[in-house]
Symmetry: none
Subunit: 205 residues, 4 copies
């Protein structure tokens, strides 16, 4: 039933994923069709249907292909000891990527597919977001061990608190997604909404 992966044509695979990504960028998610991807990739439609069950999985794999180059070495976040600065650096980069016209359309397409398809969401959580999220958690853990974060802090919640607002503002376009906003999120998340006595801030590393 499942086709023999061993015989798979790697050239066609890459052509399909590249075509899919490029088309997303050029014409936008709504106008991308399997037929269009096949034509652009110089491939028969059946070759797509043989290996991918849905348009969403093609898009997903297109992103996987992008990140394949960096495979081997798992991603890490910078760790200078200054947590706020490190987080700011990373979050600013995220914001810039989200504003990059080359990635915006494809990323929105991926987000859409994940929103609608639970299976894809699981795959995303495991294969695309997984390593990155682990790096984020790791950076926070390091800070926690240095006494810069609360001992009882749930690191997953912490990650959500920092990256959630940014991702959300991007998806819903609920406001300008700027570097300043990123910094505000970092600061506010670190300090909390409540008033804070100055003495409590800026503990030495």
């Amino acid at each position: 039933m499942t086709p023999n992966t061993a015989r798979r044509n790697e050239t066609s695979r890459r052509a399909i994923l590249t075509a899919a990504f490029d088309l997303l960028q050029e014409v936008g998610y709504a106008k991308v069709s399997i037929e269009g991807i096949a034509t652009r990739a110089g491939v028969g439609k059946q070759t797509i249907y043989r290996w991918w069950p849905s348009k969403g999985t093609v898009i997903f794999d297109a992103f996987l292909l992008l990140s394949e180059g960096a495979e081997g070495e798992p991603p890490t976040l910078p760790d200078t000891g200054d947590l706020a600065a490190d987080l700011s650096l990373v979050l600013r980069a995220t914001v810039e990527e989200m504003n990059d016209p080359r990635y915006e359309q494809p990323m929105r397409a991926l987000a859409t597919e994940i929103t609608l398809d639970a299976e894809l969401a699981a795959a995303y959580a495991q294969r695309l977001d997984g390593p990155l999220r682990e790096a984020k958690r790791q950076r926070l853990r390091s800070a926690q061990q240095a006494g810069q974060l609360a001992d009882d802090l749930d690191l997953d919640v912490a990650v959500d608190l920092i990256w959630g607002p940014v991702l959300n503002r991007w998806l819903y376009r609920s406001g300008p997604l700027t570097i300043e906003y990123a910094d505000q999120v970092v600061t506010t998340a670190l300090n909390g909404l409540r008033p804070r006595r100055p003495a409590a801030q800026g503990m030495p590393a």
Copy 2:
């Protein structure tokens, strides 16, 4: 050119929006078509195309119809003086709505449309999310004035910090969306990620 709204058939309008919402719930966004909505509503296709420019706006209006009942009195958040408790109450309700099978599919459909269509996102920000967001801001402002929140806090960032993680976890299914999670987000957002001297908690500055 623009159709005369005065002559619009209100019965058809409601039938279309109800049919759209019901179909989203029953068959999911991907399988909902204008044609299907028209048939289900017992309406000609042209009647839809005459009044709505896209499927997304139909879905949007279907949500507007839902919230029409509560029109007149703008929404407010509870204000018992205990900010954490009030936020927890509201966020728990949000979580429960997101987990309600009656609303999940339609809400995901709306989120999808907003993600892909900037115009729709603006309409959403203004007409659907606007009043609610103002209520959230208002509750926080009230707390701020009572000295429970930092003076220099940007209330929009604060709203994002509280609701962003939840909305995000729901969209991406990046983890279980429970009442406990809602509470954790509230607590962590209020206190911040940094260690906080116990004495400093819940005390006016």
Copy 3:
């Protein structure tokens, strides 16, 4: 279920049938597709599928359209009193039509469809061949009444005996299909295979 014939677009109908006939002639039956007919006719595929259940019925109707001009007055065979001459005239015309490159491919296509589809064969017998066959029968009946044909002759068998060999030689290409052959068939059918005393032949009209 059946579409409303009243709303049918007559222009499209003629374009489809003309395109079908022309394509048969130009590229041959095997390479004619519904898709090709639709494109050539400048018509959506659905417009063909809406009104015709199969490629065969389209081809059939294309022939019907051709003979629509002559509708009204039923066809008749010439009746000069000289049966052999009249039959020869008609059969020669048939042979020439079969050898006409404009009609050969379409006629072979129609023959093929009739061979494979009993329903189409019935439609052919009734609507396309029917009037013509009646005319043939009528000419023979006239001769029979004039004492030129056997009293107990079954006219349907007689028609088959004259036209069957020609049609068959055309279909199977079992030999050259010439005017001489047509005449031979007429003479042989009229006289029979058996030897015939000269006196029996050439009865005065």
Copy 4:
């Protein structure tokens, strides 16, 4: 270039031809595909494409295989001296074969291919119909020499006159194909359409 016939796998060849014939019978010409034949025969597609240039030639060879058993001794028609009786016998058998559900679909498929493909028609005339037609001619020649048929009779025309009507009625389903019809054709062909003095019948010239 041309595959080496010596190395050909006879088992596969028979499996293919048998599968083709069986499929024609079971699902009809329109639904038979090379792919289907290969699967049914337990054979790779390439094995078919290697040895046959078209679906028509496969079908043709399937019929050849059927008549292979009788190879060696060329077919003959019965010759009791009573021509009418002998022809009736043979034509009745033909009619029965045409009405046999086991052969009808395959024979229609073969007829279709011959109608559309001149090369195949030539192969048919030579290899499948050839010997049989020669037998028919031979029987008539024998009768002619016995003075039962006209001296100047063209035997090919005579064969067409007898078998043409039957084959035609079968292909076009223009009427019931019965034993009675077969007999009528024989009688009418022998006697001709013209009136015949009773005394002249069955008498040597």
